[in-house]
């Protein structure tokens, strides 16, 4: 579904990603682990198209309607419309913008892109309430401004709600588990598991093995100094948890 080839990226003139290669097929869950500063979040932001990150080499090839396109040539909103989603490590607060208005605007952009009819506010309300049940969310939630005065757990749940609403094909979850208590993490993990199908794929970026007890990956990759230094099955996460990263280098 998506293939990252020899990806080099820098921010503010400092090279962070130094040749990433990664191939993910439909139906797979991959996890990337690595110490602080290894480039995990940079990879997520480059995939999503953050303007501060400059790709100096390589490409990200993504399957769209049986065609292969390099998504680095697309604006962030174009990538999103093609089904690429990133759950933010630090979801952004947007005062004055109502969550439900925001979600409907996003959803209708996808409808427009797919040539489908836009959903009116009443139908959308029903649609979103179903999705909110999936994540044990309070009805009041969507009447509040986006992420404003949300707790850490609510912000992360809101990210997964957006994922549920937009129904992406490829999702990158950037440290969605960090800062969550065990109950919130379970709810978030349950939500992600319910959204999993044979046609979509997920890339989990995490610090901790804990999340991977709940969302079981098919592959675990270790990122260090901007390169993937080891790839293996899910048992690699346990090994890292036990021994740290130093034995790998």
């Amino acid at each position: 579904m998506i293939e990252i080839k020899n990806l080099h990226a820098q921010v503010g003139g400092i090279e962070i990603l130094k040749g990433i290669n990664l191939k993910i097929n439909a139906g797979e869950v991959h996890a990337i682990m690595g110490p602080n500063g290894s480039g995990k979040s940079t990879l997520a932001k480059v995939i999503a198209g953050h303007p501060d990150y400059e790709v100096t080499k390589g490409e990200i090839i993504y399957d769209v309607n049986f065609k292969k396109i390099n998504i680095l040539e697309l604006a962030p909103e174009e990538r999103a419309r093609e089904g690429i989603f990133m759950a933010f490590q630090y979801p952004v607060e947007i005062p004055g913008v109502n969550t439900s208005v925001f979600l409907r605007a996003a959803f209708n952009e996808i409808c427009k892109h797919q040539g489908a009819e836009e959903m009116d506010p009443i139908d959308f309300d029903l649609y979103i309430r179903k999705k909110m049940k999936l994540l044990n969310m309070d009805d009041k939630f969507i009447t509040r401004p986006v992420n404003v005065d949300f707790s850490g757990g609510e912000k992360k749940r809101n990210e997964i709600l957006q994922m549920a609403v937009l129904n992406p094909r490829f999702s990158v979850l950037d440290e969605t588990d960090s800062g969550l208590d065990i109950d919130s993490m379970r709810i978030v993990a349950d939500g992600v598991n319910k959204l999993k199908t044979k046609d979509n794929a997920t890339l989990l970026i995490t610090h901790y093995q804990r999340l991977l007890n709940y969302i079981v990956p098919d592959y675990v990759h270790i990122l260090r100094h901007g390169k993937i230094i080891k790839s293996q099955g899910k048992e690699l996460a346990l090994e890292v948890e036990e021994k740290g990263y130093d034995w790998l280098s």
């Binding site: 303007p51 604006a75 999103a80 952004v92």
Partner: protein, 400 residues
């Protein structure tokens, strides 16, 4: 007084960022007729079912007003008549201010206005209906001048909601509107007051609103400014009774080469007063904004809580803002904070919306609208909220 001092220049600290030269270049004439050619435009903005007190070119129009739903307990009459009859609080109120502090434009208004409005809520009156005072300038005359003048008295434990609108339906009309509004809040009175200014793009609007507050009264104020080539908007509040609170919220939304200068002054003269100021500006193209916010806390005014924030969103390449807080605090047991921000749209917010499929053009609109809605959510009256929303919408649609 106006004759002695004339039009202030930028050498006057109070007018440092606003040159009145363009005003001075014109000769304006007071107009005697109150005919309005375009009634439909007026009633598109005003709801004819609501209480409307309409002035055209500064002169009351019974024809355009709707006074039939004014509840008992709300008394209104021409200000000149109220002064002649010495109606309650008139003399008491008009002598409260130090004449030496009077601005030249307030003096000009007092000298030239011929048809002011006196409106009073009697003790314990709770008026739920919106009272809409409309000052419209008709385009029939060139270079007209009008002197809108309102005096509002809220007696003990009364409550009212008032919208005072200043507008024109011809965006090319050149005129000068010099408005003066006085508000007196007696003990435990509450006023929800909004001033909405959408004058012609070529108009000069100079306005001063003075608020006097007694014990436990509440002033819930909102200023909206979107019109005028040159606008000066002063809001001066005196907290003269313990436990009184004042909210001064404002939005100025300007583009092209419009200039808006906001001055606020909150004078805490007694202990245990509260004031909150939130002035927000959106400037586009080559518009220019000024915010000057004064807070005085007198030596006796202990336990004062005073907060001031000025936030500016600059969307145009050539726009500019000068913001100046001015705190003079002479009591030691007070909480006063102030701040100002000037910035463009937040890049993180833009990126966040884009990753959710929203194109940058729509994202910009959403964020600008959010900047406004965050503030509009403080307006409790739905009719006012709706009217302001309609006035501000075109500027979002124009965002690229």
């Amino acid at each position: 007084m106006f004759q002695t001092h004339g039009i202030p220049t930028v050498k006057n600290e109070e007018w440092k960022y606003t040159s009145l030269e363009p005003l001075e270049k014109n000769i304006f004439e007071l107009v005697k007729d109150n005919k309005l050619a375009d009634r439909s435009a007026l009633f598109e903005y005003c709801n004819p079912q609501e209480i409307n007190i309409v002035f055209v070119n500064g002169i009351f129009s019974a024809d355009l007003s709707n006074l039939k739903n004014i509840p008992s307990g709300i008394i209104h009459c021409p200000l000149q008549e109220a002064v002649a009859k010495d109606l309650p609080k008139i003399k008491e109120f008009l002598t409260k201010y130090d004449p030496s502090q009077k601005t030249p434009f307030a003096a000009l208004n007092e000298a030239l206005n011929s048809d002011g409005l006196y409106i009073r809520a009697d003790q314990n009156t709770a008026c739920k209906e919106l009272i809409h005072i409309v000052h419209v300038t008709s385009a029939s005359r060139r270079n007209s001048a009008s002197m809108p003048r309102t005096l509002m008295v809220l007696e003990k434990s009364s409550e009212a909601t008032v919208l005072e609108s200043h507008l024109s339906f011809d965006d090319k009309a050149v005129y000068f509107a010099n408005a003066l509004t006085d508000i007196f809040l007696d003990e435990n009175a509450t006023l929800h007051y909004c001033k909405s200014q959408k004058e012609s793009q070529n108009a000069f609007h100079i306005g001063q609103t003075r608020v006097w507050q007694e014990r436990n009264s509440n002033f819930d104020g909102f200023s909206f400014m979107a019109g005028g080539a040159l606008t000066r908007n002063d809001l001066d509040v005196v907290i003269n009774g313990e436990g009184a609170s004042a909210n001064l919220n404002a939005l100025y939304n300007m583009s092209t080469t419009q200039h808006v200068d906001n001055h606020t002054s909150v004078d805490h003269r007694v202990p245990n007063g509260t004031s909150n100021q939130l002035y927000k500006g959106i400037l586009n193209q080559a518009a220019r904004g000024v915010f000057n916010g004064k807070i005085f806390v007198r030596p006796v005014a202990q336990k004062t809580n005073s907060y001031q924030l000025n936030k500016n969103l600059l969307l145009g390449k050539d726009c500019r803002v000068d913001t100046k807080p001015q705190l003079e605090i002479f009591a030691d047991d007070v909480k006063c904070t102030h701040g100002a921000t000037i910035g463009q749209l937040d890049e993180d917010q833009m990126f966040y919306l884009q990753t959710r499929c929203i194109p940058s053009k729509i994202a910009r609109r959403m964020l600008a609208q959010g900047f406004v809605d965050d503030l509009f959510s403080k307006i409790k009256n739905e009719s006012i909220h709706h009217k302001l929303d309609k006035l501000v919408q075109p500027s979002f649609q124009a965002l690229e």
